[in-house]
Amino acid sequence: MKRVGVFICHCGSNIAGAVDCEKVAENAKSFPGVAFSTDYKYMCSEPGQELIKKAIKDHKLDRIVVASCSPRMHEPTFRRCLESGGLNAYLLEMANIREHCSWVHPDDKEKATWKATELVRMAVAKVLKNEPLQRSTIPITKRALVIGGGIAGIQAALDIANAGHIVDIVEKEPSIGGKMAQIDKTFPTLDCSACILTPKMVEAANHPNINLITYSEIENVEGYVGNFDVTIRKKARSVDMTLCTGCGTCMQKCPTKVPSEFEMLMTDRRAIYTPFPQAIPNKPVIDRKNCRYFTTGKCRVCEKICPTKAVDYTQEDELVTQRYGAIVVATGFDLFDHSVYGEYGYGKYKDVITGLHFERLINASGPTMGKIKRPSDGKVPKDVVFIKCVGSRDEAKGKAYCSKTCCMYTAKHATLVREKIKDSNVYVFYMDVRTPGKGYDEFYTRTTDQFGAKYIRGRVSKIYEKGDKLIVRGEDTLLGRPVEVEADMVVLATAMVAQPDAAKLAQMVGFSYDQDNFYTEAHPKLAPVETHTAGVFLAGACQGPKDIPESVAQASAAAAKACGLLSKEEMPTEPIVSCVNEAICAGCGMCVPVCPYKALDLKVIQERAHGKTITRKVATVNSGLCQGCGACTVACRSAALNLKHFTNEQILAEVDALCL
């Protein structure tokens, strides 16, 4: 006779406020198999867990139902509790009476109590059919992959490498460095971005445990935590990395000029190029789309000029496959395309630029050598308007979220304009000024007080050209009056958005992303750098808008998680896998094609039948590959396949219990 113990959690008033917990516990006593039932204020607390352990002993319980919060929250907690109470961890079932009951039905205690009772009854019915399951172990490949070579990726790689593990950084651009390399100064200290980034880039390049795989993309990911098999496409650089010395002669002689992406198209690079002078690796690639030789078949200047004969037009993309124990995703962000704003000129006004353009304009190595000149005519602008929240906090044309960094970088820009152009006027149109961060609000205060930037609370409705001026129309909402600025240049603080191929990568690696294509963390508070896919961690702005200090902090956190995984020789596997009843299996093989992990196959078995030995085929599950989705169990018509912990019998019992 099975003896089930039922424990109803009040979760303070979170549950007890809407559900009569005592009554639920009382009701549960009448359910078949229940030997003990009680309620308690905080089941997950130390005394709560002690209560469960004591009840196991006192009432000889062999199965436990905890009705509390979502199992996605505390299932691991209570499984550990069962283990230390002497029961197998998988003899636990949870009824979610908080997220699925008390929190969503706060106003009808009677019905919420009724529902909670039924949820408990379902859990009891299921747990009666639970079987003890044993975890096994798999070896862990001690190598980490970092996808993305911006500041977050570099930091994560350095931390993992310093812990003694081999790390590969895969970066799609010819150089690591990411967006931070484009930025001029960093808030709130105004120290030079390149000065703090390049040493990190060099450190990564020289680290014995780090391999840089630049100009490369992820092609395919298979496997699972501890053993991901990743195929990487190394795009043809057309330059032999082992021969090239990075002398740069080819870049000087190349006849084809192409607008430089790094310089926001404000100046040119060559078709054979490194994105910027401090690039790492500092060896060029040929941009085949624009190269004269690749487009017309003639030229070969770089090949001729190269002193080491490193140029190789015949190179092809190369696919390499490598096994990794952990993956850190640090693919960063992109900037919102403001050309959707007709009222701001659809991107056709030359002197309406974005913050990143502005970074290049003030950078000493940028297209204007650090002199602020407006793009249209090269004049030094006197009246500069900054508009915040372009694409952010705008459900109609942009994104609903706040991009978090714009308030500070706009304050930085305003300061720099006032510093570099003495007779300038700066107008900042804003909706809110959000400056939570160390030294941030002080910086903003200086921007208005010491540097005299004019902050105007209101969104700009229209910008139009009048002569060589830009007319900017807004409302000063603090005064309640329409205002107009005749500006020389307008800088838009455009939103941070997910990379255009963010969803594709997530689908390839197999983790989730939100409606804006930012990657979803496993828990917003308690697991901010993990994904729901074990062994895959998040760093930087791919998870949501972040500034540099936050990205670096998160990168180190992700690295710590990866190191935690790589520090073990082997790891326990989830025992919730499919299994085959060979006596029933007809060997039809319908299960094989539905398995996404290639965990199913057919094998030949021998058995005695009618006095002779015969052979027949049956399905077999590779429990190392099986991830426990259960797709095969439905493909199997004779139910020879079953999923442990979510067996046909268990689910039918739940359905029956619910429908009573």
Partner: protein
């Protein structure tokens, strides 16, 4: 400056706010985050006593009377610039329209001339099925008890065949009259 009793205002304004939301087909003032983009782009804002954003603010706080008595709601030209550009997708022009209808019901007409114009216009439509522009101009003149400002334009218009002296009508205007009657039956304030 007069102090606003927020508790009282909120209590009094709730019901009317619900009416505005209902009448406007679901436009919620609470969505507005007061960025002022509507007022910045409004071509009539220069003539208004309150910017459109301020009207939205009054609604949010329940200060309905003040909104209904404003000139703003009458001066709105229904050009839809505000609604087109609103980052919160609030149909502000529709709110203005709705407030005007409610204001009229309550007898708050801050811009009498504009109101008379619309009344005369619709009277002409009901009577004739179409608008009789000369009649409209003259009617406004008489009702408004003021000289017709466009008087210098009228002879030229007549000359150019641009003002008809006799009303344009449709032969059997029974159908249009019925439409007006049916709308009234359904509680329309025409």
């Amino acid at each position: 400056m007069e102090k606003i009793e927020l508790t009282k205002a909120l209590a009094q304004g709730q019901q009317m706010l619900a009416e505005v939301t209902h009448e406007s087909g679901g436009v919620r003032a609470s969505k507005c985050y007061q960025c002022g983009k509507c007022s910045a782009g409004c071509p009539v804002a220069f003539a208004m006593d309150k910017t459109p954003r301020e009207i939205m603010r009054l609604l949010q706080l329940g200060l309905m009377e003040e909104a209904l008595k404003s000139h703003t709601i009458w001066l709105c030209a229904s050009c839809d610039t505000c609604s087109t550009r609103c980052p919160r997708e609030v149909d502000i022009a529709k709110v203005m329209e709705t407030l005007r209808i409610i204001a009229k019901k309550k007898g708050y007409v801050a811009e009498k001339k504009l109101d008379q114009f619309h009344d005369l216009f619709l009277k002409s439509v009901e009577r004739n099925g179409r608008v009789y522009e000369m009649g409209l101009v003259l009617g406004r003149n008489i009702l408004g008890m003021q000289p017709f400002k466009d008087v210098e334009l009228s002879p030229a218009m007549l000359l150019k065949g641009k003002l008809a002296l006799l009303p344009h009508t449709i032969k059997d205007n029974g159908e249009v009259k019925k439409i007006f009657a049916n709308v009234r039956k359904r509680g329309g304030k025409v």
